[in-house]
């Protein structure tokens, strides 16, 4: 009883947020049932005919689908490798002593986040096209041979990943920077007294201080390995590299939306959701064993 007397406000606080999630997330979720139906938009979601797993069977019989899944995973793995970049960025920014320079850089680093991928795609072509791109023309003028950033499949993957880092690092950095400010100053002062070098301070104080944030973000990123945004691959893809550039989101766009096959689009989405959830839970369990900490 004493427990309740103390804890009842928590339920009050949770009430509105839960209403939100149930109303605006769970109610429309009923719509995933379209993945099991021969969806007729005029009959509606519930009156359309039930076809069980037929839609899934159809998807799994499309060779394109497997290519899209493979590419999605591959690109996401590469992106995962760039996970430390925002962390390093935050650490570097934190070490800057000149305040105005620090703030200036913080602002500048965040800029790419505002440029939509559509624009970035156009810029990428102007800069990186093998024969007419500015970077390659510059290389040519130096007598070097051009680099097929966008035309060679492996180079394209690197370009894609690099563009992702450019777009995201500043944004991610802010998050870590905010987490950094919460570290107790006294720890630094104590280390100072002990004569610790900069690097040791970072290793023993700063990093552990933001450890929870790092773990949570890492787990979440793993959970999203089956997912991939639409804009980045769509803007950067071109016809030379479709073998590696066709991902699930662009595939769903072509097959599902443009061809008006909603059941297929929903079914693929459901597939991604289930896979993502499994990945997340797996990552969570492993993290608990290793770090004694997870999201939950």
């Amino acid at each position: 009883m004493a427990w309740f007397r103390r804890q009842w406000p928590l339920y009050v606080l949770m009430f509105l947020p839960m209403v939100y999630f149930l109303t605006f997330r769970y109610v429309p979720m009923g719509g995933v049932v379209v993945a099991f139906k021969d969806y007729n938009m005029f009959k509606g979601i519930w009156a359309s005919e039930w076809v069980g797993l037929d839609v899934f069977r159809e998807i799994f019989s499309m060779p394109e689908f497997y290519r899209a899944v493979r590419n999605t995973l591959m690109l996401n793995v590469f992106s995962l490798l760039t996970f430390p970049v925002p962390i390093i960025l935050a650490l570097l920014l934190n070490e800057l002593r000149i305040q105005w320079y620090k703030r200036l850089n913080q602002t500048l680093l965040y800029l790419p986040h505002f440029i939509s991928w559509v624009i970035v795609g156009g810029l990428a072509i102007r800069l990186l096209a093998t024969n007419t791109g500015s970077v390659n023309q510059f290389l040519k003028s130096l007598g070097l041979s051009p680099i097929p950033f966008l035309e060679n499949e492996w180079m394209w993957i690197l370009t894609y990943t690099g563009a992702g880092v450019w777009h995201y690092a500043g944004w991610g950095g802010i998050l870590y920077l905010a987490a950094l400010t919460g570290i107790n100053h006294e720890l630094y002062e104590a280390a100072e007294v002990d004569g610790a070098s900069r690097l040791r301070k970072i290793w023993h104080i700063t990093l552990p201080g933001i450890r929870p944030t790092i773990i949570v973000l890492f787990i979440l990123q793993i959970g999203h390995m089956a997912d991939i945004g639409f804009e980045q691959p769509y803007a950067l893809k071109n016809n030379y590299v479709m073998d590696v550039a066709q991902v699930i989101s662009t595939y769903v766009y072509t097959v599902g939306i443009q061809s008006a096959q909603f059941a297929i689009a929903t079914a693929i989405g459901l597939f991604q959701s289930v896979v993502g959830l499994i990945l997340l839970l797996t990552a969570e369990l492993i993290s608990r064993k290793v770090n004694n900490q997870g999201i939950f």
Binding site: F4, F42, I45, W46, A47, N131, N238, N239, T254, Q258
Partner: protein
Amino acid sequence: MRTKFRASWRSVLVLVMAAAVALSGCGKGGSGGNADGDSGSAGTGAGSNAGADGGQAGSGQPKGERIKLRVELFDRNNTPPGEPPITENFMAKYIQEHFGDPNNIDVEFVTVPRAEEVDKLNVLMASDSAPDIIFTYSKPTVQNYVKNGGLTDLGPLIDEYGPNLKKVLGPSLPYGVFEGKQYAIPALRVIQAQTTTFIRKDWLDKLGLPLPQTTGEFVNALRAFKEKDPGNTGGKVISYGHIDVFHLMPLVNSFWIWDEIDDRELYAVPRWLQPGSKEGYRLLNTMYNEGLIDPDFAVTSEYSQTFAQQVVTGIAGAGTPNTNEPVYNGYYANLQANNPDAVLEVIDPFTTADGRRPKPMYEPIGAYIMVPASSKYAVAAVKYLDWMADPKNIMVLQNGLEGVSYELSEDGLPVLLDTPEATNWLYNYYDYCIILNGKYVSAEDMNKNIAANAFDLRYKDFTIKSIQAGINDGYVIPRVDIPVEAELKYAKILEDFEKEMLAKIVTAKTDQFDKVYDGLVKEYLAKGGQAVMDEKFEAYDEFYK
């Protein structure tokens, strides 16, 4: 105490979940009684009445009761500053005064952003809130609606209320027949020309070369451009630009062995398998390996801006863009602003062995205009479209008012005046005059229509020649009214794959060409190309038996 609380918490959760599921269940059925002021459409709750044969349309509107007719209108976000919104401008008012009021109808325009027209339309249809008159350029969307019973059969209505429509849209109406019924009214495309080749005439003059009349002469001219660089581009010259599957068809078509292709095969066989096609692509491959083509062509997914830039900066020697694109896209003008001596000339060089110049043309249709099955005002809708097809109204909707925004030339063709009204009234006239795609002045004389569409007087000659070249020996794929399931499913995938194919085939090393070509064609067939071809043959036989 604790256990009791936990248990009750769990049951609350279960109850809430159940309620949520139940709520979503009411989702569709309940929306019939929606109260958010979405007037006009969707009187009956849900399209569970799949009987889309317009029976209900017979119950028109009782005379005397004012009805609201909702018409879709594309929003291109290009209203000139200071002008009223597109739902209340000159056009809207004219329509209300001359159609709405005399017929006791309130015409209301429902705007849909042009770029997302299909997505937005789908959402409106799925939620029973679509306007009474809808349209789209996307055929799969139309077929989807037909398949799911979402459209009104307009056939009987046109017979009764649409005499003007029948006259003006004669050539296009048959394309709106699906499953034997007139489910859509396709707009009439006045200009069927698709693509037209042009070349830098001033460069030819410098080199003392005549305008190319055959494929061989054309390629030689391109080679000369590259070797001698008459444009002084410093080696950056792109002799032949705008490389993509669609725009290369005239070139490829000139290699087809037309005697071996009958209508049936023209309809069903994919372009890569037509007899002779491979040689056409081989020529392109040769041209690429000789450096006559833009080396980065496959990196751009949207060619129009890149090609425009290449023309304007004076490095493009020739190309086959959309007919008259240099004029309506403004890059011919920009080229001449940079270089007043530059001249683009229309040519039609791709010739078959027997001197013909076959090339694809558009079917004589524009957007598909439809009336949803859930609409109560199909009669009013057809009346509206019929009113629009009256030549008098066409003239106003396309040109404004005589003496104010246009005047008639000696040949009786409307010529736009340089007045503010001309700009402010007509910047999006084609979105109101939806039954026509292109300017239309005569039902009989094609040349008058062509001339009427040469609106930029500086380039009148270029435009007219472009159109004429674009329809010279032009062909249209035979029409088969039976839906091809495989096509609905695979069309988009195959279309995207064809772009990949082109990139790889054209850039292959010469000795690898055959291997690459054959390999990719096999892949194409495996991805659904075979299924589509087989079904198309069946459909053709079924339709024409």
